[in-house]
Amino acid sequence: MSDNPSSPTPAGPQAIVLAHGDVAHAMVAAVELITGRGDRFSPLSNQNLGAAEIDALLRERVDALGAKVIFTDLPAGSCNFAACRLLKDRPGLIVVTGVNLPALLQYATRGTSSDADAVAEAVARGGSALRILTGRPSAN
């Protein structure tokens, strides 16, 4: 990941992005391409893992990074259940589900805002980015 000297110093430890298949790695790669701040995230996949193994993988990564924020893709998915399971014994941990690229881009460019504020801004940006666009009505 590049180190962009014009960007603010990353605030706090990396956030984890845990998602199905290659989604997390692809989204973090896209964040890097767009902002050069892919280093604010640590991507993980649940691929080929049972629930207990996903729990163990995530717990290990959270502890290694001291992560305070986890983004997951699907509310009813195994990734999200694993992340929420950690809330039990990790006060202060924040889980955001339904993550999309606009949300991660917002978080990546968070500046020095607190985790809670940065997450709120990311959720607002990600939610508002989802919209229906249609072509111009016919001129007939």
Partner: protein, 163 residues
């Protein structure tokens, strides 16, 4: 409308269950049969938090599931019953003869298990338990998502290799 799917899946409730199977069948409720989850308020709340609010969610031990199965089978909504391991489904089918078909949807790698498919690893005991269910007349179907070709247990043996 009987329960549409009886599934063994070590991820229990997750994307394949709620979205992959659930959306095409207009899923109305899920029964999660797991003694440990049924006994933990935290785990029950965890699953309630993630499952869409329009989908009913029931938690049951094997004993509870045996007691309430006919009630769930009479429900007008489409339902899925899921267990996290072979042994729980074995115990359930032994006491609930109404279950005639079981879908093996996902059992992942763990020491002592052999790879049969990308999403299916079985220990010798698990395979034996599945074959015992089959011998009792319960059809065992291996399929992770509805669009996949359903496989019978016998079709896996030739493809077996050590993980």
């Amino acid at each position: 409308m009987p329960i549409d799917l009886y599934r063994i899946d070590d991820r229990l409730i997750h994307g394949q269950v709620i979205v992959g199977w659930g959306q095409p069948m207009d899923l109305g409720f899920v029964v999660l049969v797991d003694d440990e989850v049924a006994d933990s308020e935290w785990e029950r709340e965890l699953y309630r938090m993630g499952v869409p609010p329009e989908v009913g969610l029931y938690f049951a031990s094997v004993d509870d599931a045996v007691a309430h199965l006919e009630e769930w089978r009479a429900d007008a909504r489409h339902g899925i019953l899921v267990t996290g391991d072979v042994d729980t489904m074995r115990r359930l089918t032994e006491r609930a003869p109404a279950i005639r078909e079981v879908d093996v949807g996902g059992i992942h790698y763990r020491t002592g298990r052999t790879e049969r498919l990308r999403y299916l690893f079985l220990s010798a005991d698990e395979e034996q338990a599945l074959r015992a269910m089959e011998a009792r007349g319960v059809a065992i179907i291996v399929r992770d998502v509805p669009s996949a070709r359903p496989l019978k247990l016998g079709e896996l043996s030739g493809a077996a290799k050590t993980a």
